[in-house]
């Protein structure tokens, strides 16, 4: 067996196209899955084209502008790399910290972490005006005071660590895998809290400039890690069994459920205190928080972030005695959706108050010439462009496809899959 064969099942790889082949005689669930994969493939390809368009045309095809420079791509990037850290941290409970119950999912989790990070990189690459210049100048002209520089550096190194960790895990090189795992845990925390600092250090945007943000980001990543792994456990069983959890997965499933409850609760507490401290402040942070509570973000905040993302999942997860595995899985998926909405809101909310407001600090009526897009009354609008939307959809599709493909073709278990 050569090196690659220790990682990848070539036979399975050659059968990868079968994933998209519809078998008439297949059970309905599998047929539905095939349809879904086909649709995802189309989405991913369209998203790929959108990435190329974004790379070619830059901000000319984005919904962002100089008043609202960051948009859905930044939110999506944060969304995916939060998954990376979360998957890494939760799974490390097994192969790094030795909690046996988590061991079965270690390899798959690290693989998924790698996928989400690579897709995240693609998104930030298409968001940057000149991604290649960043590679060059981050090395030749580094600015260690810049959180973005640290972001690039940490996530870049993190990808290397993840690849190494995955290789060691697939090769069952447990000693090296553990070392890589420990480094991976440190990187996961460092990279993602630093990403929080990209926002937290933006003093000019008081809604972001909050010391809780790095911690908040980290807590959210744990929610996503637990949630994704819970779904992974259930879905891989369900496709094999036709809809139910295998008995040997029950302990792991339950452990993930409890972790998810814990992490959600932590996020809940952090959110409450973020909002209360913001309300206690004056100026922009207060205004933006009110936009969440009663303003333009009201629906998406109370419905998506609070009810669907927090209340409903907690009710279902805590009532698991009466909840089926399927219901728990669905409930676990909701915070992932909520996480996307939360990031989207967070990114937009931080920039939504114009720095050139039409009402001045002393209540003056301000007139600017030339007129800027941003000095209208109220909040700055942002709607993702078609290109941005397609990149986001394509990225989600790409993650699912790559995870499914990887699960089918990588040697996660000793026995060669048939």
């Amino acid at each position: 067996m050569n090196f690659l064969d220790t990682l990848i099942d070539r036979a399975a790889l050659s059968r990868a196209r079968d994933l998209f082949r519809l078998r008439k005689e297949a059970p309905p669930l599998e047929r539905a899955g095939t349809h879904a994969l086909r649709a995802l493939l189309v989405l991913a390809l369209v998203g790929g084209v959108a990435v190329l368009v974004a790379l070619a045309r830059g901000h000319h095809v984005m919904g962002t502008n100089s008043e609202m420079p960051w948009g859905v791509l930044i939110a999506t990037y944060v969304f995916f790399v939060a998954m990376t850290s979360g998957l890494c941290l939760v799974s490390s409970l097994g192969h790094v910290f030795g909690l046996k119950v988590f061991e079965p999912i270690g390899k798959k989790a690290i693989f998924m972490a790698m996928v989400t990070l690579v897709v995240g990189f693609s998104i930030i690459g298409s968001e940057l005006e000149r991604p290649l210049a960043l590679l060059k100048w981050a090395v030749l002209s580094p600015n260690p005071r810049s959180p973005i520089w640290w972001m690039g550096t940490l996530y870049g190194l993190y990808l290397v660590v993840l690849v190494a960790e995955l290789v060691f895990l697939l090769r069952d090189d447990h000693r090296r895998a553990k070392v890589a795992g420990i480094v991976g845990v440190v990187m996961a925390v460092a990279a993602h809290t630093n990403l929080g600092a990209v926002f937290a250090l933006s003093h000019a945007r008081p809604f972001w400039a909050d010391a809780l943000i790095p911690i908040y980001f980290l807590a959210w990543s744990l929610v996503m890690g637990a949630s994704l792994l819970l779904m992974l456990v259930y879905l891989s069983d369900a496709f094999a069994t036709g809809g139910s959890l295998k008995p040997e997965s029950e302990r792991l499933f339950d452990a993930l459920r409890k972790l998810l409850v814990l992490f959600l609760s932590i996020v809940g507490v952090l959110t409450v205190w973020r909002f209360i401290t913001n309300l206690g402040h004056h100026g922009q942070a207060f205004e933006v928080t009110m936009a969440y509570l009663t303003g333009p973000f009201m629906v998406s905040f109370w419905l998506f972030e609070v009810f669907l993302g927090f209340v409903l999942p907690l009710v279902v997860l805590l009532g698991s005695k009466r909840s089926s595995a399927r219901a728990v899985t669905l409930a676990a998926g909701l915070p992932v959706l909520s996480a996307f909405v939360m990031r989207m809101n967070f990114v937009v909310a931080g920039q939504m108050l114009s720095l050139k407001p039409v009402v001045g600090p002393m209540g003056e009526t301000m007139t600017y010439q030339p007129p800027f897009k941003g000095n209208t009354s109220g909040f700055l609008p942002y709607t993702p462009s078609i290109v941005e939307a397609l990149i986001v959809l394509g990225a989600v599709a790409a993650v699912v496809l790559l995870v499914v493909g990887g699960l089918k073709t990588l040697r996660f278990t000793k026995e060669v899959q048939s």
Partner: protein
């Protein structure tokens, strides 16, 4: 080493926008963007009214958040404390736009972030920045903040003045004379 700054005399400025238009020609600023702009701030109730008038631009902060935010040192401090963007090194991450409390930066259609340079290319030739040079009301004064012979030095000694958003701790070098 000079420490360049600018004053805007709100008593004299009439917000005619000559500064804006001269700057756009001088620096070939693309349509839809501006490196400087004018502000009128109206206060009061008829007939007890006031209007503050001024021209605004990059503050060339001594403690510039944009310089800290830039991952590649594209935004850097040039001679005289002038904050300048190196177009070549700018990757278009927009972190500087987000970091700036004054919204003085914009994304150039060619994919880099652009802003006021205090017309450093003119200053190096011993000229005033274009906005200062054109100003029909002589409301703008540019010079070395440390040079007691400079008009700007004397203005800041004698006249009441303020900077934009002092609470940001950025230590701006654009001063508004009352």
């Amino acid at each position: 080493m000079a420490r360049y700054g600018m004053t805007v005399d709100e008593k004299l400025c009439v917000t005619c926008n000559a500064c804006v238009i001269a700057c756009k020609s001088e620096n070939n600023v693309p349509e839809g963007a501006a490196r400087c702009w004018t502000v009128q701030a109206e206060k009061g109730t008829f007939p007890f009214l006031s209007v503050e008038t001024r021209s605004e631009r990059c503050n060339h902060c001594e403690n510039a958040p944009c310089v800290s935010a830039c991952p590649t040192q594209a935004t850097h401090v040039e001679e005289g404390g002038v904050v300048v963007v190196d177009q070549d090194k700018c990757v278009g991450c927009k972190a500087c736009i987000v970091a700036c409390p004054y919204e003085v930066r914009y994304l150039h259609p060619d994919g880099y972030v652009d802003k006021c340079t205090f017309c450093l290319h003119r200053v190096r030739q011993g000229k005033d920045p274009a906005c200062v040079s054109v100003c029909p009301t002589s409301a703008l004064t540019f010079g070395d903040l440390d040079d007691p012979r400079a008009k700007i030095f004397q203005q800041l000694q004698q006249r009441q003045h303020r900077v934009a958003k002092p609470e940001e701790g950025t230590r701006p070098k654009l001063f508004f004379l009352k």
